[in-house]
Symmetry: C3
């Protein structure tokens, strides 16, 4: 059932070709643009305060990523996010490095406070820090979260009304009621820069075509993970793998998703 | 004749190795740097107001791309462009996303008004919007142009004194008098991020070594398109194709251009 | 002896996985992130004045690269560098384009003056200009240095107390007393954008795990160069080579370094 629903969402992305507006970091931005295209959606990156409201107004989703945040960019996130909220356009927040510096932590908390975020996607350290659990982040890498990540994510989702995604070998997706575990993916995805950011872009594309952020997140992570599995089937050299990851996602079909997705309800 | 002239310009790029100063977006900037090198020229990216005039003064061409514009960057474009005009250094303008937001449209129009742009290269939506035709742009993708693109481009070129390039399956290049149609290229070039920006970089390299912006544009687009055709001959996976596109351009010779260019006068 | 010491440093990078904080340009930043990972270290890019001190405080090294400098970023470099100095965290400075514009030259000189830089790595033109020799830079490419580069680098290192690295077919590393020449590498490394910046990132990773900046620099350049040699063994197409360069660095072992490093004392 879940796989069927996932593949329907994926088919919708391919058919509707939604515009995904990114306000994101300058490290992985090209990867985010290309992975959005490979998913079947159309990326646009725009962060000037003069235009973000107009740009997001025609988008299907807004992806906010604080990987190389600065004061001006955060104001643009607030502006674009406010417009997205007014127009009921879903927002995916990737709180890159929250927990590593006070500026990142406070910015992520501010975005969670001032905007209605639809999906919050982070590594265990980032989500743990934002959920008030014992957790740590070094640079942009998770230092782990103490306690049961499912419980922590579920409670945080229930309290905040946000769909929370914790990335990992098994990804967790929860809105506080439902908890889905996604078993797709490959360890090589952790050996290159940008896969976390790319996962948020894919999630934005999926969130643009459905009102169910839990299924959108689960389907997006399964889709991206399956592309990784297929790529790892023929190359284990990390940068050849990166090229293959894009190629496999571009070639993936909703039928592949239906047959390969490992999404289970906990 | 055209192919001969094209291949001479290409040979000149390879021999003279012109410096191409870019003020461009942070999404595809690495692709622009690498495609400039593959063409045979030398890229430099610099956008600080303190240095753009000095940098452009030693360049062979200036490429302005508003893909992720902001107020400060636009001021640097005006500064660098003014110096380029004073020194008769050609300017290529890629009005990425003009028509999608008022900030992009007004910035493109301001650059066209305050600077003497040599070559304006855009997709049908962007050029249509700037030419005052019925046209639309969604994000950075063309929504199409109503009417005959050749007529619209030609009239716009004649009125403005700018060489206008409309990208597409068949590219249009016109200065209002001459109209050249370029038939090279491959649909896969539209399946990855950045090919539009890269085409502007290649055009900058060609414009740096000749006083004929129409032939420079046509030769550049044919060159880039042939590289795409050669790459598509052995891979249809989009990201493998991207690597192959760079490799084929780096390996392309003026003789290849002379024998493969599809440039016709309309 | 040198090869043994080099391979020990490389083994330490792989084991300790140091965080390398970059304040760098937006052209090659993704390459820098990925090459840092391939080396065995963890990259983080952060340039907001609100967070750079906190970020660098947990890093093993700071890499400053002025490839697309702007006023705000330079202030962040001064802030982060001051904190790095207080905490005795090594700083690698890559003065990209120093000599090409007064803004780049004066910024590089200011960073050398206000901070205790550990390792200064540049091409012959950049180092020549900063050392007060007759030298030139066009865009970001060396226009060469008049005189004996070893003598000039050695004198500059002795006067400044900085380890000076001059990149080239044979790289020079000197602290004014010792002079090491590194013969690894391949001409293809000069045919793609970003290898200079990447070399600085690898150097940062090595400098993070030893108190000997001369050996750190030599070992880093040998490591990076050997990866290039191994990649060039099976592809000469520049962008396929780029992928292979990353893959080979990721696969390289300290044993490979011990057996293939060409480091000689002059």
């Amino acid at each position: 059932m879940k796989n069927k629903k996932s593949s329907d969402i994926f088919a919708d992305v391919r058919e509707k070709h939604p515009l995904v507006h990114h306000i994101t970091n300058y490290v992985t931005v090209n990867d985010c643009a290309n992975i959005t295209i490979a998913t079947g959606a159309a990326p646009v990156m725009a962060d000037a305060p003069e235009e973000v409201c107009e740009m997001v107004a025609v988008a299907g989703a807004l992806v906010l990523n604080i990987g190389t945040l600065n004061k001006g960019q955060v104001e643009s996130m607030i502006l674009a996010g406010g417009m997205a909220n007014d127009l009921k356009i879903p927002i995916v927040l990737d709180p890159v490095g929250a927990g590593a510096t006070r500026f990142r932590t406070s910015t992520a908390l501010r975005l969670l406070d001032e905007l209605r975020i639809t999906i919050l996607k982070g590594n265990p350290g980032e989500i743990g820090v934002l959920a008030g659990a014992e957790a740590s982040v070094r640079g942009v890498d998770s230092g782990g979260m103490a306690g049961d990540p499912v419980k922590i994510a579920r409670k945080f989702a229930a309290l905040s009304g946000i769909t929370v995604v914790v990335s990992g070998a098994t990804d967790i997706v929860t809105d506080g009621k439902r908890v889905l575990l996604i078993g797709n993916g490959h360890p090589l995805m952790g050996c290159i820069s940008g896969t976390g950011c790319m996962a948020a872009s894919v999630t934005g594309a999926f969130a643009a075509v459905t009102n169910d952020p839990v299924m959108a997140s689960a389907a997006a992570l399964a889709t991206f993970g399956i592309a990784g599995e297929k790529a790892a089937a023929y190359t284990h050299a990390p940068y050849s793998f990166k090229t293959a990851l894009f190629d496999e996602l571009a070639a993936l079909t909703p039928e592949d998703l239906a047959s390969c997705a490992k999404i289970v309800m906990k």
